[in-house]
């Protein structure tokens, strides 16, 4: 589906011949020949102009604010650029620096990978599990809202609450409670101790993870026709686990793919949760992520060339994983 402009080629084959005088237009009713008609570009415009006009507003903004930035990023990643002077081409230096000498970036990658590998699959699984559990219930809607609500709250606003919960003094809810039951003797610095920062961030992120994926699964489950389960029983499906594996999952595969892509992107682009809890830079970079590293270099140090190198790396990473997921989901048994 990617990079296949077959329809365009089809048209050029037809339209190209059209220049010679004989034109045939594909319609849903088949090949129709007509006598007098505009040719070449004019014909193209007459046939598809309206379509392109409809798409133009979005595509123009898409080109300016998505396509052009991505291409610019790739170019800038090979330059030294500090916004004040014109970018200076320096070849692979940024990439060498990034992987060989930037220790903080290695920490950022390690943190982001830990985060993505744990919260991605766990969040995905929890979303599916909760969606599956609440789908047949009467109180489905209120429960769905309860699970979904955290994901629509801003990480910044909720950071205030979680900071109180994890506060390092004895006034923090968690410390207060742990002191009360005697697990610890003095307040633990949840947001300053290196070992605790990532787990805290992951916990809060998981709390917010029942988002788009959860809704997509919930909606997908509703579209699975009930008689399919009946048919499954005839075919010897014994228990709910088999039912999920052989009927539910294949039926909502498109939704699962969408949810997994969203989970991957969210996992690798973790930023706001981390900075609103641990700050930027966080103590000993314990909560530093790839996007935080990029933000640091781009908008605090204004080393745009280097920052875009980080961006390109992240882009390739999430894009590659996205493609991988699409392949994984499509190579399974087709229906």
């Amino acid at each position: 589906m990617w990079f296949r402009a077959t329809e365009a080629f089809q048209w050029f084959e037809q339209g190209g011949n059209g220049m010679a005088g004989r034109t045939e237009v594909m319609t849903s009713r088949g090949m129709v020949s007509t006598a007098a008609r505009p040719e070449g570009l004019a014909l193209f415009w007459q046939k598809f102009g309206t379509s392109y006009l409809f798409m133009a507003p979005f595509l123009i903004f898409f080109a300016i604010f998505v396509v052009a930035p991505v291409l610019t990023a790739v170019y800038l990643s090979f330059t030294y650029f500090n916004v004040l002077e014109a970018p200076r081409f320096i070849g692979w230096s940024n990439y060498k620096l990034l992987f060989l000498e930037d220790d903080v970036f290695i920490i950022a990658i390690a943190n982001t990978l830990t985060f993505a590998i744990i919260t991605g699959p766990v969040g995905f699984f929890l979303s599916f599990m909760f969606a599956w559990l609440i789908n047949p219930l009467k109180l489905k809607t209120p429960l769905a809202l309860c699970f979904y609500a955290p994901s629509i709250t801003g990480a910044v606003a909720m950071g205030v609450v979680w900071k109180i919960v994890f506060s390092g003094d004895r006034y923090g809810y968690l410390n207060n409670w742990l002191l009360g039951i005697g697990v610890i003797d003095e307040p633990y610095q949840f947001l300053a101790e290196q070992a605790a920062i990532m787990p805290v961030i992951m916990f809060v992120a998981l709390w917010m993870s029942m988002g788009t994926g959860f809704l997509v699964f919930l909606a997908g489950l509703q579209t699975v026709p009930g008689d399919l389960y009946e048919a499954g029983k005839m075919d010897g499906i014994r228990n709910p686990l088999q039912e999920v594996w052989y009927i539910t999952l294949p039926m909502i595969k498109p939704q699962l793919l969408f949810g997994s892509v969203m989970a991957v992107v969210a996992g690798f682009s973790v930023f706001e949760v981390a900075t609103s809890l641990a700050g930027l830079p966080s103590p000993l970079y314990a909560g530093h992520t790839i996007v935080a590293h990029m933000y640091d270099f781009a908008f605090i140090r204004f080393e745009m060339g280097y920052a875009t190198t980080v961006a390109v790396f992240l882009f390739l990473l999430t894009f590659g994983l996205g493609r991988l997921l699409m392949r994984m989901f499509s190579s399974k048994n087709e229906y």
Binding site: A73, C146, P150, T153, V160, M210, L215, T223, V265
Partner: protein
């Protein structure tokens, strides 16, 4: 959709048995597990809402009471005072947020729908696969990736520190286009459009009078998602604007929590957190049925 209840045929103490029990035989165990989880999930939000109305003495109480005892609006007043010390009044941030979010969301939904229409319904459209492929590819990278070059583009066009910088880049919303196109594929019958074409209707008329009413759940959903995302976004206003007069509530929130004397402003913080949270939840509550309906069509078929 109701799933028929099945009686167990064999005695079977496996995981599967437990799962079946949890889910179907009786919903009670399911509820026993789900309701505490749901409550836990909602606790921080309830706390934010309740704290916003706590008087000062309750805010400083130890241990902090979870629910408000004597609700008051002092914190909101405090918020106005606290931000008066900043360069601009809080109402300015609020106006910026509301203005930017509403304008953007309406343009986003209109442009996504317009673009989705030919992508979904044109008989032949050269480049359709290429364009849609790019949209799907754009779904697969973190939005922050494009922020730096986006910043350079915005700077080049001279939009830095204007509403344009906050509105225009957000219009290239591939997620919105993707969802709208998937929904149109499924929810608008081709025969309907063909019939209108045979009757000689103009494409715009077909789009506006036939397609748009049919995809109402989808654009309702996009309105909500767009609203939530933009309302919470602090990245764009932080990066694309410089003067305080152009910042939004989410940025004011950050300066309230991170600035000096942030402890003294607990009341104001709570009120600001409430103002950040309440609109998104309200908007979602009002429209959640449409959202679920739309999401059913938003899978990626590979």
């Amino acid at each position: 959709m109701a799933v028929l209840v099945r009686r167990p045929q064999t005695v079977d103490f496996s995981v599967a048995k437990v799962l079946r029990f949890l889910r179907k035989q009786t919903p009670a165990p399911s509820y026993l597990f789900l309701i505490p989880m749901a409550v836990f999930s909602m606790l921080p939000i309830v706390y934010v809402i309740s704290t916003a109305f706590k008087p000062l003495e309750e805010l400083l109480l130890f241990p902090p009471p979870f629910l408000v005892r004597r609700p008051t609006l002092d914190n909101f007043q405090d918020l106005l005072l606290a931000t008066n010390a900043l360069a601009v009044p809080f109402t300015r941030y609020l106006f910026n947020s509301i203005f930017v979010v509403l304008t953007t969301v309406m343009l986003q939904v209109l442009m996504c729908s317009m673009c989705a229409y030919p992508l979904s319904k044109a008989r032949v459209l050269p480049g359709r696969n290429f364009i849609f492929g790019m949209i799907v590819a754009a779904l697969m990278f973190a939005p922050q990736v494009t922020r730096i070059p986006q910043y350079l583009v915005v700077q080049k066009i001279g939009l830095i520190d204007t509403y344009g910088a906050l509105i225009l880049p957000a219009l290239a919303w591939s997620y919105g286009l993707f969802m709208m196109k998937q929904f149109m594929d499924n929810a608008v019958p081709n025969e309907l459009i063909e019939a209108a074409r045979v009757d000689g209707a103009q494409e715009w008329t077909i789009f506006w009078n036939i397609v748009m009413p049919n995809v109402a759940p989808a654009w309702n959903t996009l309105l909500i998602f767009g609203f939530i995302q933009l309302w919470n976004d602090s990245f764009s206003p932080l990066v694309f604007t410089r003067s305080e007069a152009m910042k939004t509530v989410s940025v004011a929130m950050i300066s309230l929590t991170n600035g000096p004397a942030s402890i003294a402003r607990q009341g104001a913080q709570a009120a600001a957190a409430f103002l950040m949270t309440a609109p998104t939840i309200t908007v979602f509550l009002l429209r959640q049925a449409k959202v679920i309906e739309t999401m059913a069509h938003s899978g990626i078929k590979s």
